[in-house]
Structures are given as structure tokens and as C-alpha cells.
Amino acid sequence: MTDAAASVPAPDEPAAISRTVIVWVAEGTWPGCIDAARALAPSPAAIVLLHATPGEVAGAAHGAYAGLLGRGHPERDPGPRLAELATASAAELLAAAASRLARPCTRTERRGRVEREVVAAAAGADLLILARDGDRSRLGPKSLGPASRFVVDHAPCPVLLVWPEDAPDTGTIPPPPPHRKPPPHWKPPRPKPPA
């Protein structure tokens, strides 16, 4: 759960070893990730731009239509239409990201539970770049939204966690509480049983 930096290959490492860097392209926060990839991804690395579409959005529209009793007419169901629109908008987003990256890359689109799709796609990668997507006005745990929190906690590879914009000042950290209590899950070490 640390902001692990990219493991940049040592200068003497042969360039033939190809490294895979996955960049999670998410609405609203992706330019920061692309800029980080430009600045920090080693130049021979294979960069994969990954976008995940939440399946539940089209699912909710479909469910709302299904809930209208007796309407029939499956061609009026907005669910498939939304899925179509989502595919088109994901392709546009990935194209914009690729053009900002200005380096050879591959684009991947996944659909489902976003956070789980990202974790699954990151398996075997050498680095995953993602952005904080919570409260970005101050430093702290709330700067991770539920999705990025899940990905950071479950990532099967090193992670580079960037601020979408300039990071807030360190002054945004609240002062320490007057009495330092141990965290709730902390237990004193058990005394060793006498031999």
C-alpha cells in the first residue's frame, strides 16, 4: 500500500528484457497517469493503456426498463444502447490517451466490475500506474476512492499511484492527536511461554 516507485531498469540491464507497464485510464483522472507514464516508464517498456467500463451502468438502465411491467418491445430497451455508447466512448478515451502519450502502446478495454477488471488485467505486469480518485483537496486516506482503494490493496504487481493534479501541500495533514493511542487492531506482543 505504498506509493512504490517504478522499478527503473539499471543501466547495465539488457534492454532486451521487455517490461510491461499498465496505465489505468479512468474518466477525469487519466491525463495525470499518462504524464507519469511519459516521464517514468522505461523507454523499452511495452505500455498498455487499460480502460474498464462499469457493466452496471448499462445494467441499471436495462433493469429500469425491465421493471416497467408489460412494455415488451426489447428494441426499446436502453441497456444495449448504453452498452454501445460506452464502447464508443471508451475507444475515444483510449485514443485521446494514446495521442497524449505519444509513444507506441497497446489499448485494452474491459467490461465488468471496474476495480476487479483492473486487478485482473494487472496480473503479471511489471508496473501499474493509476491515479487517486477520492478527495483530492488534502493528503490522506480519503484521497483514494473505493475503486482505487480496492486496486491498490489487491494489486498483484508494483503500483505507481499518482495525483491527477499537483499534490496538495503537506500542511493539509491534520496535526497529530494529543495522546497517541495504538491503532484499534494493535495487540501487545504475547509474552513467550517459559521454556
Partner: protein, 414 residues
Amino acid sequence: MPAAALVIATGAVTPHAALAEAQRLGPVIGFLAAVLILAHLCDVEGLFRACGAWMARGSAGRPRRLLAQVFATASAITAVLSLDATVVLLTPVVFATSARLGARAKPHVYACTHLANSASVLLPVSNLTNLLAFAASGLAFPRFAALMALPWLAVIAVEYLVFRRFFAADLDAGAHDSGTHDSGTHDSREHDSREHDSRAHDSRAQAGPADQVSGVPVFVIVTVAATLAGFVLASTAGVNPAWAAAAGAAVLAGRALAQRRTSVAAIGRSAAVPFLVFVLALGIVVQAVVGNGLDHALGPLIPGSTALPGLLATAALAAVLANLVNNLPAVLVLLPLVAPVGASAVLAVLLGVNIGPNLTYTGSLATLLWRRVLHERGSGPSLAEFTRLGLLTVPAGLALAVLALWGALHAIGG
């Protein structure tokens, strides 16, 4: 339909009673058909595309402003053109708008699905449940709207406050222009918003021949406004307001047909005749079920009082029933039982059956189970998440709406 034939054949409902039910439902179904056609013609004339352009322009690339505009649009469309229009015609436009702005679509799409139910309490035309109850309540159109205005605003306010908090992360993620032009440094918000504006215009201009309708579809808006005025006038003159809906639909149909923007066949399809027949059959089946014991089973549960606790209990009962079966059968079952209590109890039932279905994403447990049985493919919404959202909005929204109804009854006089 076969079920309706069966209950008549087995004598659960006498043919005479079935005919009486059909005669009672006939005008309601005609009204419904006119509203469905009206919504279809508004779509043909570009009303929903204009809504999308308005939301894109007004939100200035800020997701929280977009959410406010989605709320305003979805509430108005649902109230005037019925919940079908919001689910079928507005939701894709809202999704496209949010995608175009680069914002996360989830809060905005979920807002449409929620408001299609909860914002459908304002007018008799907003929901088929209202049309059915409107006929039974004996209220005039303007009086119905006046009593339901406060509850409508109350439930929308609850939904809005909950949505802003519930989707805070998605809304704070921001919206970026596709970013192909700006390199490196982040541009100022003003610049971003101008860029969004021009993109909104561009994509509307490029979106195909049907989009050649210029900017704001004034003719449609004026016709719909005139139709609303017609509801009030017809109702005060003692004429069925369905005629006003029919007149509005006829005006729009005449213009769209003359300009060859739609066909008679397309208008016929938008009237959804199988659906109209289904409503009729459902009415007869429910009558059979109610007449053969359900009235005795449910009767004791109906509070006979129209004081605040009675109204709250009535609305809660209606919400529970709507969640178990679906709000159409629920309202058909409850109407004959609450109508003798008074118009205020009928309105409380409507609040329950219209706001209640947001607890599940398919509107009722029955539909949800049925779709599970069918092993429907594709990922539905996370049931836990949607239910959490429902638990945050439905009880609070319903309670506040009933309180507002009670206040309106006292202010205007029950």
C-alpha cells in the same frame, strides 16, 4: 392476456364484470396511448437531443453541475412525458452527454433510473399508476398536481442530497476534455468549459440528418406547454383531459408527418398496443384476485384514517406491496380498498407505489427473481450497492413526501 381469458372462462370474474372493468380502464388506456405518442414525437422533433446539448453546455464540464441539470431534466421529463420517456429516451442522452464531457456516467444514469420512479408523482400523466388512481380518486387535474407538487419537490430534494454524497468519488473525479489539444500543463477551468461548449455544438451538428433541427425545438416546447394548459382547462370544463393529450399528439404528429420526420407506422408502434392490451388484461386478472379473497386479506391492513400516521402507514403498505409484486398490480389491488377512505389516502398509495420501487433496480422483487430465473446474461448493477442507495433514498424520501402531502392537504384543504 391468456390469464385474463382464463379468469373469465373459469368464472372467477363474470364476463359482465370484466366488461365493466374494460369500460372503466378504456379512457385511462386511451390517455396512456396519447402520452406515449406525445413522448415519441418529442423525441422525433429533437427535444431530448436539445436536453443533452443544454446539459452539456450548462454543466461547464463540472460533474456536480451536470448532476443538478440531470436532476432538473429527468424530473421535468418524467413529470410531463411519463417515466417511460425518461427510461427509454432520456437515459441514453444523459449517458452520451456525460461520456462526451469525459465525466463518469454512473451517478447520472442512476439518477435517471431513480427519478423515473420517484419524480413520477407530480401529474396524473407522469405514471400509469397515477392515471389509474386519477380516475378512481375523483380529483380534478389541477388539484391533483397542486397536492402532489410539494411531495414531488421533497422526494427530489432527498434523492439529490443522497446522490451528491453517495457518488462523491465519481463526481469529484472531474471531467476532462479528451485532452488531445492541451499538452502538459493543466488549463484553467474557464478554458476547459469553453472547450466543452464548442464540442457540444460540434457533436450536435455532426450527429446526422435528424439533428438538423435548429437549437431549441420551440414548436415542441410550446405544444407540450399548451397540452399541459389543456389538461387544466379540460379538467375545469369537465372534459376528460385525455383529449388534451390527444390534441397535443395530433398537432405534433401532423407537423412531423408533413415534414416526413416520422411515419404513421412509427407513431402506431409508439402507442405500444400490446402494452395497452396487457394493462387491460392485468386489470381483469387483478379484479379476479381481489374479488376472490385478497380484499379480505388486505382490508384489515388498510388504515381507515387520513391523519398523518394513517397516511404514512398507507404509503408504507403500498411501497411494500409494490416491491413484492410490481407497482402496477399493487396499485390495481389497493385502489378499490383505499378509494372509500378518501382522495388523500389514494395519493398516499401513489407516493408508496411510485417511490417504493427504487429499493431494487428492477422495481420489484418479482421482476428481479424472474430475471434471475431466466439467467439473464450481462452484469447487472451490484445488488448490494443499488440496495444501499435505495435504503438511503426510499424510506427518507417516502416519509418526507407523505409529510409534504399532509402539509399540502392542510394548506389547500383535503
